[in-house]
Point group: C2
Chain length 433, copies 2
């Protein structure tokens, strides 16, 4: 057995970009990390799909396991780093195997924690092992640490995050270059900024995983993917980006978590953010999180949300924490103490909204539309009508006063039944962060 009093022996499962980054940091900063953690941290074993691939780092000193799950059984390994990805399969099997043996487990896998976080946290607590996932959310930004430790004396009431670099990159380029979503996506895929299968990113699933994790830590609940309505950015048209600017907003894909006396509300969707708000200024692939808590007030965290260096930096921070003996319940409070709070359904959300309609350009249309709004008691803050839409008709843009979402949804439904409305209306929530 290893002398964990003076050394920490690490196994790494997955040697893609992040795995290689972790190995590089542990190699290049070995002396620094030993000073900071008080222990020598070294790699003992690694696993990846393709042993022969050139990775630009020296792996010769490390044991090789073809099967990642076997890393948990390597005798002198104290801490397993999982960088395979996926909520189930080998990642989950490895997590269970490591924690079962009382070995610490560090992961960058948001899907794993969002889906199995409660089970794994319980297992870690039972076995007295650490389970850490700083790298799972917002890459190099220590946002997990901020919520679980830095703001631990606070009751957090809400957080908003730009948590997916691919989406923010696409929205930024759509705005800057006036391109369509499809055009930018294609180019982003060519440049490696978006995956060949971009579904997880652009449909908001990645952001939902991260939002579930942040909400869990902020509110003391289990990650809850079952109650996290999720919309992506596929439907955002250049015309919405233009109108947003004209109205003083910028469109961002947000992860939102809010706690009120009525319960908890988590959701992922594109939103109109006022240009002066902190999140409106976050451009390109940058991530940012705004947290509102009762004593610290509003704090903002910003940095690179992905990539070899930033994500590896977060993994290594977790390793150093574990080496230092900084151990606590993985979800901030013990699993037994997690709250089951009522879920506030999306329909009960109170907010302000942006609606874009493409309608026939003829007399009486505006009267038809405003009648539907009145029917649902939706009060209009502003209306814009702009010249011909390229596909025919004209655009009518509205923003509402504070309204319950059910009323907006009902109104949108009425709109689609109007003859003068030429396509499915676009609705975006306005979030003042």
């Amino acid at each position: 057995m290893t002398d964990t009093a003076s050394a920490v022996h690490v196994a790494i499962a997955g040697l893609g970009t992040v795995g290689v980054g972790v190995a590089k940091i542990l190699q290049q900063h070995a002396a620094l990390i030993e000073q900071r953690s008080g222990k020598a941290v070294s790699i003992r074993a690694v696993s990846a799909r393709d042993r022969g691939r050139q990775r630009g780092i020296n792996l010769a000193d490390y044991a090789w396991c073809d099967n990642a799950v076997d890393l948990a059984a390597v005798d002198d390994v104290d801490l397993v780093v999982e960088l395979i990805g996926g909520s189930d399969g080998p990642a989950l099997a490895l997590a269970r195997a490591a924690l079962e043996r009382g070995k610490s487990f560090v992961t960058a896998n948001k899907a794993l924690i969002a889906v199995h976080g409660e089970e794994l946290a319980q297992l870690a607590e039972e076995k007295g092992a650490s389970l850490r996932f700083e790298a799972a959310v917002a890459g190099g930004i220590p946002i997990i640490k901020a919520l679980a430790e830095g703001l631990a004396g606070n009751d957090v009431s809400r957080l908003h995050g730009i948590l997916n670099g691919t989406c923010n990159y696409i929205l930024t380029r759509m705005e800057r270059e006036g391109l369509s979503f499809g055009e930018v996506l294609e180019d982003a895929q060519r440049l490696g900024y978006a995956e060949a299968d971009p579904t997880f990113d652009i449909d908001g699933i990645d952001t939902a995983h991260k939002t579930a994790i942040l909400a869990a830590l902020a509110f003391g609940m289990a990650p809850d993917m079952a109650n996290l309505p999720t919309e992506g950015i596929r439907t955002i048209a250049p015309v919405d980006i233009d109108f947003a600017k004209e109205l003083g907003y910028r469109i961002k894909l947000l992860g939102v978590a809010r706690k009120t006396d009525e319960g908890v509300e988590t959701r992922v969707h594109p939103a109109m953010v006022p240009l002066a708000a902190p999140l409106a200024k976050v451009m390109d692939a940058v991530n940012a999180v705004v947290v509102q808590s009762d004593f610290a007030g509003e704090t903002v965290y910003e940095g690179a949300g992905a990539g070899e260096g930033p994500t590896a930096s977060a993994v290594v921070a977790d390793i150093i924490d574990i080496a230092r003996g900084n151990q606590y319940a993985p979800l901030g409070i013990p699993v037994g103490a997690l709250q089951k709070m009522p879920v506030i359904p999306t329909e009960s959300h109170k907010g302000t909204y942006y609606i874009r309609l493409r309608v026939d350009d003829r007399p009486g249309v505006m009267a038809d539309i405003t009648a539907e709004l009145a029917r649902e008691n939706v009060s209009i803050e502003s209306v814009l009508q702009r010249g011909k839409a390229p596909q025919g008709g004209v655009y009518i843009i509205m923003t509402t006063h504070l309204t319950i979402e059910a009323a907006i949804l009902a109104t949108l439904n009425h709109f689609t039944q109007l003859e003068c409305v030429l396509e499915t209306p676009t609705m975006l929530r306005i979030e003042a962060v």
Copy 2:
């Protein structure tokens, strides 16, 4: 003796705004804090100058010490919180007394840590006690934790901070309302945003204390107030704020720490920050820090830098960390491992500069001025001349290309000897953060 396995007993020295805030959090969030730290955290004893003062919290259950230093000797106290202030006197005596007894010590006192941090860290290490000071820098923003833990796997190369809310508030109001420094200061004092004696804030000393602490954690060195050239904001004139805007900058008081192959450079001064840079957008009394590190890249932290809630939140985060057993060398690495790096003198700083002159409005003046610049090999990026200055003469505004600071200082010296130059030139460094 107390059972520290299940409880942490706290003593608080100083019951001003922050002390009261800490007591409020520990009272109001007792259950939450017990869940998060795994231990009941309760106040045992307090000390303040005036026992009779009404503070809006119930102190009846706590032992009272007239002399703060006596708190360290209260038997069942495990952890002493110092909120007295001042680098020496009772704050230092209490720190020594608590750590000597192996009790943990948490402080919001930047002067104490900036001046005596190395000695106190050494004492804490010898006695196996915790010494924590999250609240000493940037209030509610967990920036100490970010540097010492979140970015622990990184080599930090530079950081820039807006660390004094009073100065940022004054600069913000000077810009928004077109007022002079003196006018805003007076109003800020009336409103309680500035102290009756504002020297520590407006002359940059408070920012220097905080910069020394951040540099220590970032670079693995002892806090070094002896090599921290410090300038405040007294000399900033409304005309500089106007010219800054015209040139695309905003003036901010910055704490700067930079590490290169040649050594370490720390300094505090007002600087021109490009309007698009993160720190230019930080307004009012908000604090922010931008950190550049080798793997995580640029990360930004922003929030309330002072006040009851934010500062108390940071103190309580430290208390929870200690309760959880998250203990490491107070300066991030053991005192014995701290580096003594060469100090890069201000004169060797390479940067770009803004210079404002008030000169006679007659032919030949520009030739005289540019001759002095040429003499010191200073290359000009832009020159502006603007109509009459209210006190007579005209303003000439220059920005330079990359130059060594010694050349700028020599040029300024030449300028003051020119007959056409009507007042001491104003120089501001340009910092692209």
